[in-house]
């Protein structure tokens, strides 16, 4: 546990000092400022319009930026053989995967929380509203990144190319936003064995559609603590299961 903690802690520290993170933060902030100007075009409730645009920009860009950062750092450590210094000190090589996994998730939570604070301040300064609900959004985003990063780590063990890992991870992530539609469609149309294969695929891939709750937060629609706890349990269970499997695969590799 101590080794996982140290790998996680220094992954955050390395990430915090990585240029990619600052460039990403700058772009996200610029997009949020752009959202403000977009919101002025609406006739009613510019604050609601601002929140909608900001949340969508934040989600799209933070997911992209952190995926790139995670994958590039992982492959850079491998290419430069920097991870050997860490691996030769570990009793169980899986700690490397688990430590990095935890580190990148903390880094993501910190990043989206900072941006959410920025959104909160803009809403407060411009419309004099204290919208504490804004801070629910980084938590929901982090739950999604928890699942996405688990997929990234699994694919990192499969592909030797960072580009393939990025493309495949993002493809799974975005396709999983339509998994419920896919499920309903196949259950109605598919027959025989293929139907069961589709159902199996539905359960294997994450259901990211569950996390599309921007509207609920913006328009004060139902988002009970029970909803939130269910989502949290789902993302933790899925993320931990996948990263546990990745750790086992990594530990049993013959050559690094």
């Amino acid at each position: 546990m101590k080794q996982i903690k140290y790998i996680g802690k220094y992954t955050v520290l390395e990430g915090v000092r990585d240029k990619i993170l600052y460039v990403s933060l700058f772009i996200i902030i610029a997009l949020i400022i752009f959202s403000f100007y977009l919101s002025l075009l609406t006739l009613t409730s510019p604050d609601i319009a601002f929140l909608s645009f900001s949340f969508y920009f934040l989600k799209a860009f933070s997911i992209l930026a952190l995926t790139f950062l995670t994958v590039f750092q992982l492959y850079k450590d491998k290419r430069k053989r920097a991870y050997e210094i860490v691996l030769t000190k570990l009793y169980n090589k899986a700690y490397y995967i688990w430590g990095k996994f935890i580190g990148y998730n903390i880094l993501y939570l910190i990043t989206v929380s900072i941006v959410s604070l920025f959104i909160f301040l803009i809403v407060y300064i411009l419309w004099n509203e204290i919208m504490l609900k804004i801070f629910i959004y980084p938590l929901i985003l982090s739950e999604q990144f928890f699942i996405l990063s688990a997929i990234i780590f699994l694919l990192y063990l499969i592909f030797t190319s960072p580009t393939l890992t990025i493309i495949s991870s993002l493809a799974i992530f975005f396709a999983s936003h339509f998994s419920l539609d896919f499920y309903l469609f196949t259950v109605k149309t598919a027959k025989g064995l293929s139907k069961y294969i589709y159902i199996l695929l539905y359960y294997l891939f994450p259901n990211m559609e569950l996390f599309s709750l921007e509207k609920n937060i913006i328009h004060n629609l139902t988002l009970t603590p029970l909803n939130f706890t269910n989502l949290l349990s789902y993302s933790i269970a899925y993320g931990i299961l996948i990263s546990f499997i990745s750790g086992l695969i990594f530990n049993n590799k013959r050559d690094f």
Binding site: K2, Q3, K5, Y6, I7, K9, Y10, L13, E14, V16, R17, D18, K80, R81, A82, E84, I85, V86, L87, T88, K89, L90, Y91, R254, D255, F256
Partner: protein, 239 residues
């Protein structure tokens, strides 16, 4: 013997990289592992550090197999082209390595450790601002963190200027005075001759010689190690 390698074979992508490598290193020795590029030095070291598993043969470090707790505690490792995270400061990186090391108590304080590798002025510096020679010494410092009895250094002198090489050599000699076993690979023959009493020569995946430096020079009738080395692989050079 603190390091024992017996009949190790390794295939990578069906290519026979190591062909029955065997040699041993005595405790407290400063041991040079020589060989031209592509001879199998790094593969042998990867097996010794547990980064690769041999297809055949046995490796023992301090009586344990690589990857076992005892071997992990006994080995400090510096990989070739050591590149630590440039975003960290020197002390942060060493604290990280201390956190990972198996020993419960730190055997040496970080400023003292840095003094040992002649890097005491770099305590608070960003790793990205260090020179190649300073990086290598930082690499040796991180290898020393858990107070290991064996140091495995992969090409610690390559790419260094004469001053950097001189300092790293001095540090390596100081380590043997502390009764540490230093095993290092190199293709710079002069360095091996300056530092070592014993060596092993690997060529095309096979050990050509293992023993004393003087014995090697006698066997291959060379006045210098360089001459003996070329005599030992004469047939391949003429090819």
């Amino acid at each position: 013997m603190i390091i024992e390698i017996r009949n190790v074979h390794k295939f990578i992508k069906k290519k026979h990289i190591l062909k029955g490598v065997s040699f041993s290193v005595e405790k407290g020795d400063l041991f040079g592992f020589l060989g031209p590029n592509g001879a199998g030095k790094t593969t042998t070291i990867s097996i010794m550090t547990g980064m690769m598993k041999p297809n055949e043969g046995d490796v023992y470090i301090a009586g344990a197999k690589p990857g076992e707790e005892r071997a992990i505690k006994s080995v400090g490792y510096l990989p070739e082209n050591f590149s630590p995270p440039i975003g960290l400061r020197v002390y942060e990186f060493l604290e990280y390595m201390q956190g990972l090391s198996s020993s419960k108590d730190s055997w040496i304080k970080l400023p003292e450790l840095l003094r040992l590798v002649e890097l005491d002025t770099a305590y608070n510096k960003m790793i990205g601002s260090l020179s190649k020679g300073m990086l290598q010494r930082l690499g040796i410092a991180q290898a020393l963190v858990g107070n290991p009895s064996v140091l495995i250094l992969d090409e610690p002198l390559s790419g260094l200027d004469p001053i950097g090489r001189k300092i790293v050599k001095r540090v390596m000699l100081n380590l043997t005075e502390m009764e540490k076993t230093v095993f290092f690979s190199s293709h710079i023959l002069q360095d091996v001759e300056d530092l070592c009493i014993s060596l092993a020569l690997i060529h095309k995946g096979s050990i050509i010689f293992s023993g004393g430096v003087e014995e090697f020079k006698l066997l291959y009738s060379g006045v210098s190690l360089e001459e003996a080395f070329f005599n030992s692989i004469k047939e391949d050079i003429s090819e």
